[in-house]
Symmetry: C2
């Protein structure tokens, strides 16, 4: 890993810290506000006068800026999957500060997310060095990427105009697909704009190139579309299922777009490791979200570790006879 990648990694991780914390601070603000006026869920706007809520909003803005900056330094294949860390930060802080206890499955989910993210970080491809916004533009103008961009925009338009009116409110994948396809273009254009700003700050101004402004306009258009459809999804469906699905789809399309655009050379085993890391994070995210409201206490798990009742209905007694020859392999006997 070179210096730029380390900077990008640090920015991506701190972005997740800020965004994860912002949920907690905003929720603290909403709770304070609901204590004195009508709560937000019931249509109240007291929270707008609460400084804590504003602090939360600012924290999120800082996080988003750090995330944007991370794209200028490190490959999208590193930055995007690390977004999942903010879920862990948020879950852990909610556990400590909001007294929303994380159950054992949530903790397992956190463990999986951390292990998977680490795998991704360890196997990230080397970034192709870019010295001008024109070079990013050249990458974007390759026939392969143009075809991807065209397919993403065309697919989104088709989904939004033809499919969404009929199935958008009942099928969770419609809005999320639009969101993720456009999101992959957001990331790629963020990368262009981010590199332009980074180079300008470093002294090699990119402000004379029209491409810089074009990237800025694409970023704005993509962000608005993406936000619009993400809001729609969250409004129509349960957050517990929207979040992991959005994570999977958004990250997959972003990695695909990034692979087509930059064609980073990677060995098959590097790609396999990344895919395994990604699948691990997906499983962890799914677990964390779906078991959030589950009533699982440490005691119900640790009771399993207590002496089992003999003569009870427990079916692990059933196969006693088959234990005469037990596997040496640490298999975990399935009785």
């Amino acid at each position: 890993m070179d210096r730029d990648q380390v900077t990008g990694l640090a920015l991506a991780v701190s972005s997740s810290l800020f965004i994860g914390t912002s949920y907690i601070i905003k929720k603290k603000g909403l709770r304070r506000a609901s204590a004195t006026g009508l709560r937000a869920g019931a249509g109240g706007f007291t929270y707008l006068r609460d400084p804590v809520w504003w602090l939360g909003l600012m924290t999120m803005v800082v996080g988003e800026l750090a995330n944007f900056a991370a794209y200028a330094f490190a490959p999208a294949m590193l930055v995007t999957p690390l977004g999942s860390l903010s879920i862990i930060v948020s879950a852990i802080f909610a556990h400590i500060m909001l007294n929303e206890k994380l159950n054992i499955f949530g903790m397992t989910g956190c463990l999986e997310c951390i292990a998977g993210s680490t795998i991704i970080v360890l196997h990230v491809p080397e970034e192709i060095p870019l010295h001008s916004v024109l070079e990013v533009w050249e990458h974007a103008m390759q026939p392969g990427f143009l075809m991807y961009a065209l397919a993403a925009v065309g697919g989104s338009v088709y989904l939004a105009w033809v499919v969404a009116p009929k199935h958008g409110a009942t099928n969770i994948f419609v809005c999320l697909a639009i969101c993720s396809l456009i999101g992959s273009l957001t990331v790629v254009s963020c990368k262009g704009l981010g590199i332009a700003i980074k180079l300008t700050v470093e002294g090699s101004t990119q402000l004379w190139y029209p491409q810089t402004y074009l990237f800025a306009m694409i970023v704005a258009a993509c962000v608005v579309t993406q936000m619009n459809y993400l809001n729609k999804s969250l409004d129509l469906f349960n957050t517990a299922i929207v979040s992991p699905l959005y994570y999977v789809m958004f990250t997959s399309f972003t990695i695909l777009a990034s692979l087509i655009m930059f064609q980073n050379p990677q060995s098959w085993w590097q790609i396999t490791s990344e895919v395994c890391g990604f699948l691990t994070v997906v499983g962890g995210t799914f677990l964390l979200h779906t078991t959030k409201d589950m009533e699982v206490s440490w005691s119900s798990i640790s009771s399993l570790a207590r002496r089992q009742q003999t003569g009870g209905t427990h079916n692990s007694k059933k196969d006693d006879a088959s234990r005469e020859l037990l596997p040496l392999v640490a298999t975990g006997e399935q009785s």
Copy 2:
């Protein structure tokens, strides 16, 4: 990966296939037997006359032999963690053949186990080439490994004689620690014996060395002890918690013993990747076992994906106000 490692990998995977399948076949046999006589759990022995049960037992023996042979070809750091694959095989076959439906969390657990195992396989260290059982013996006679072996045996004796009489029946870790400490010595001595047999078969006979017979005796003593304490654990505690704990402890001690004995040179990121893969498998195993009897249907999960009730008690509506600025990062909003 050289040819030997590929052979070892193939043996380890097929061992898991055989052992995983053997549970299913034996259970089929027990079910058939209980239909005609007293069931095993109630003290019956009808199953001993059932050919299906015997087929299951044979399948397990073949699996154990393949596992033993795998140690002769590939590092213990590869073979031992792959034992978890038999849980997946068993869970999937039980789903298909015994109608023991795997729930969505079980499937997530399987996914995690496969992803983690793949990571481990991809990062396994190169095996030090061994040309004689004397070389294995030399490795075992290094002061570092001798100290480990002494500590393992001493610790086990202390646990068995001093701790177990008082706490063995209430603390799950006592029997499992003995089992895992001795298990790590089983693996190391299996490796010695396995290599001796492999070399003998290849034409370079090791039968004149007393070390070969010493390894065979150590294997026998360790296997008996390990089986004894594993049986005790399974008898006293719930399989759902014994299995993942045994997997973690046995694999950890085996990897430790193997590292001390062979001191395979590894880079820090290779070790980190292996640890992450191992943690992923541990999480998956835990999930698979603890959620086995949980009543989670696809429909209860997919109902989350349906249109949510407006005006309901669902708390994801609470933070609507905070959605005006949503993260671009695929975070999964925590409301």
